[in-house]
């Protein structure tokens, strides 16, 4: 399953460690939320980079105290139609100012890339190779956005108002 980061297919530096497997002392790992929380203090201070896979039916509040020590938070789309992770992503980015990698996992398909980017995801475990390859062209599909999210894209309303101001300034 290709990982797309910075707009291109890249290798995944992180190893998924199963709940019953030993967590290596260093190296980049992705572990489940339950496992992480059971030993959060210690795990968040491991030598290697640590990432947590957070389920979509649990508030992100419990993860917030550790965000500045996590390299990756992976959120889950069990099916692409289950949109809870979009809210989780926005909360992590915009309310809790999470700056690490925010990864979309689960059924991640081409036609949701733009929504995911706008919600704050910057890495994608993409289901299909063809979708991963089409990432760059897909995110160019839209240039107009009606509503603000934390992604910094100017909304249509603001663009119009900017236009108005520059028009009246030019007069």
């Amino acid at each position: 399953m290709p990982l797309v980061k910075n707009g291109k297919v890249s290798g995944d530096a992180f190893v998924h460690v199963a709940d019953d497997a030993e967590i290596p002392t260093d190296g980049a790992v992705l572990i489940s939320a339950a496992r992480f929380l059971a030993d959060a203090e210690a795990l968040s201070r491991r030598l290697g980079k640590t990432g947590v896979i957070w389920p979509n039916n649990r508030d992100v509040d419990d993860l917030v105290p550790y965000l500045d020590r996590l390299a990756v938070v992976a959120l889950v789309f069990p099916t692409f139609r289950d949109g809870r992770a979009y809210s989780q992503a926005r909360l992590l980015r915009e309310r809790y100012h999470y700056r690490g990698e925010l990864r979309a996992t689960g059924q991640v398909l081409r036609d949701q890339f733009v929504f995911m980017l706008r919600a704050g995801f910057d890495a994608f475990e993409v289901k299909k190779d063809s979708d991963a390859e089409a990432f760059v062209s897909t995110v160019k599909r839209y240039s107009v956005f009606y509503q603000p999210t934390g992604d910094g894209r100017v909304t249509a309303l603001h663009r119009r108002m900017q236009q108005r101001h520059s028009e009246s300034a030019a007069q």
């Binding site: 949109g83 929504f115 599909r141 108002m161």
Partner: protein, 551 residues
């Protein structure tokens, strides 16, 4: 009329391009139906019994004449020459081919029409009062706020995959023509003591399997806080709405299960924590949207023009005028309802020819504007009274001047089993038969205002729960049966109707409705006591006795 600018048009075109690509990938097999279905629903494309159905958005029920002409074009070019106006101010085409949809959408995009989010688990068309902007006594035009909401909710990245569909309605009049109490979010525009515009916000209303009347979550949310407050509600719903059972996934179930106080607290907590700066609507932003709405340059016209005085002798014209013409907030003007409920016809349908003719009449007599009402009729909102006689003749010629607005033959019906794959029973032939039974206009006038709503299944697209008489198609042993309720209302006194008795077979429905009406005529306290008030006063029992005595 809201004028789409370059920015709005660009978005619609980007959406059409995206869908064209999605259809291509579906037809090539690159996308499975499981992956594609939600994408096509998000563009208003359903699979029905014998074809795809295409639902096009008419934001808050307002159309320009050019837009109506383009809908006629789509009906001719891609469909079978007609369209159906829905209870949510949209239009549906019933025979569209998936492969041709991108072209149909491109044709519509040229006049600023789209089908974004007319289906799917997202936020749907924000409906409003079809008399918005022209009704006397309206506080201010609710369509400004409908447009603000429309933009805010369109392709919202966080809320495009909700647990289930989400519907908004806004009213700015004391008499609610938008049925806000049966919407997921209902908004009643009003001003606070300081004269500032704001909204009473209701949540959790809805029909379907489990009808609920919406509850007030906040009596006043300032206009500037509307979007942030809505975002708080949607975020709570997106996270906590049920996803395990599609029949329990609407926000009304969440509100019911938590209770309104607990739900309100969740929303308040979220709202308090939110950084609202991006979503706060300052004066400049509201005015930016308001400035894009154009209003007619009304003339100064007399309250009683000569043309009207002269036409008063024509009893047919008078019958129509008294029934279909409503007062306008500007002296000398009126609001004209075009009945799409001809005797014997399928309710809410218009042919391409009719649409073109209405567009021409709108240009001549209504400043190029048409409205779509949730009772499945159209309206011309800016007609000078002096033009009423000549307009009437023209409307009558094209078959949209049946003087039955709000009467027993002004039936609201879903497409039913003739079209819809979800239906248990047919609704259109029931409506047709009922219009025949009550075809006599004097009889219909004597009966007075009476809303019959017919749904072919429990999904209640015909809004039968809130019909004065509600008819619901059910199935019994492979036969079509119908449950009949009375006493429902969709307005500011909204309530769900009560079952009159056991379900009756298809062949008996019209007889039962006639019996109910006869019972009402016998029981009403005065000729002007409305059916729905008689039911309220006496309850269901006297009706049940009379209707089911011999059944």
């Amino acid at each position: 009329m809201y004028a789409y600018d370059e920015i709005d048009r660009t978005l619609i075109n980007e959406r059409v391009s995206e869908f064209r690509d999605q259809v291509k990938r579906r037809l090539s097999g690159e996308l499975t139906e499981d992956e594609f279905k939600m994408l096509r629903l998000q563009n208003g494309v359903y699979l029905q019994l014998h074809a795809y159905m295409f639902r096009v958005a008419i934001p808050y029920g307002t159309l320009s004449s050019n837009q109506l002409r383009r809908l006629a074009h789509v009906a001719r070019r891609y469909d079978r020459g007609y369209g159906h106006f829905t209870t949510r101010q949209n239009i549906q085409f019933n025979w569209i081919k998936l492969a041709e949809l991108p072209d149909a959408l491109a044709d519509l995009a040229e006049v600023g029409i789209h089908a974004m989010q007319t289906s799917g688990n997202n936020t749907r068309n924000v409906t409003s009062d079809q008399w918005a902007g022209v009704a006397p006594g309206e506080i201010e035009d609710p369509r400004i706020w409908s447009e603000l909401l429309r933009q805010y909710t369109t392709l919202h990245p966080e809320f495009s995959f909700l647990p289930r569909k989400f519907k908004f309605a806004i009213t700015a009049s004391a008499h609610d023509r938008a049925a806000i109490k049966v919407h997921d979010i209902g908004l009643r525009l009003h001003k606070n003591a300081e004269g500032e515009t704001g909204f009473e916000v209701l949540v959790g209303g809805g029909l379907g399997r489990t009808p609920f009347i919406g509850k007030t979550i906040r009596p006043y949310v300032a206009g500037r806080d509307l979007l942030s407050y809505v975002e708080a509600i949607l975020r709570v719903y997106n996270q906590y709405g049920r996803r395990d059972n599609i029949y329990k996934a609407r926000i009304k179930i969440l509100v019911h299960e938590l209770g309104i106080e607990k739900f309100a607290k969740e929303v308040e907590d979220e709202w308090q924590q939110m950084d609202k700066s991006d979503l706060t609507l300052d004066h400049a932003m509201v005015e930016e949207i308001r400035s894009r709405f154009s209003y007619p340059a009304y003339e100064k016209l007399p309250h009683m023009p000569d043309e009207l005085k002269k036409a008063a002798h024509d009893s047919q014209f008078e019958a129509w005028r008294k029934n279909s013409v409503a007062p306008h907030k500007v002296t000398g003007y009126s609001i004209v309802t075009l009945s799409l409920k001809p005797i014997g016809g399928p309710p809410g349908d218009a042919t391409a020819d009719q649409m073109d003719a209405i567009a021409d009449l709108a240009d001549k007599y209504s400043f190029g504007e048409i409205r779509v009402g949730h009772e499945q009729n159209l309206a011309l909102p800016h007609v000078a009274k002096r033009d009423l006689p000549v307009l009437w003749k023209a409307l009558d010629k094209i078959g949209v001047a049946t003087p039955n607005v709000n009467l027993v033959t002004d039936i609201i019906a879903c497409p039913g089993l003739d079209y819809c794959s979800l239906a248990n029973a047919r609704s259109i032939p029931i409506a047709q038969e009922l219009t025949h039974r009550f075809a006599n206009h004097d009889t219909a006038n004597m009966i007075g205002r009476l809303h019959i709503n017919i749904s072919g299944c429990i999904n209640a697209c015909g809004h039968h729960h809130v019909g004065h008489i509600g008819i619901l198609g059910v199935e019994k042993n492979g036969e079509e049966f119908y449950q009949i309720t009375i006493g429902g209302r969709a307005d500011e006194h909204a309530e769900v109707g009560t079952l009159v008795g056991p379900a009756v077979p298809y062949a008996d429905v019209a007889d039962v409705v006639e019996d109910i009406v006869e019972a009402y005529l016998a029981l009403r306290a005065r000729p002007d006591e409305l059916f729905v008030d008689t039911v309220k006063r006496l309850g269901v029992e006297p009706f049940r006795e009379r209707v089911y005595a011999t059944r």
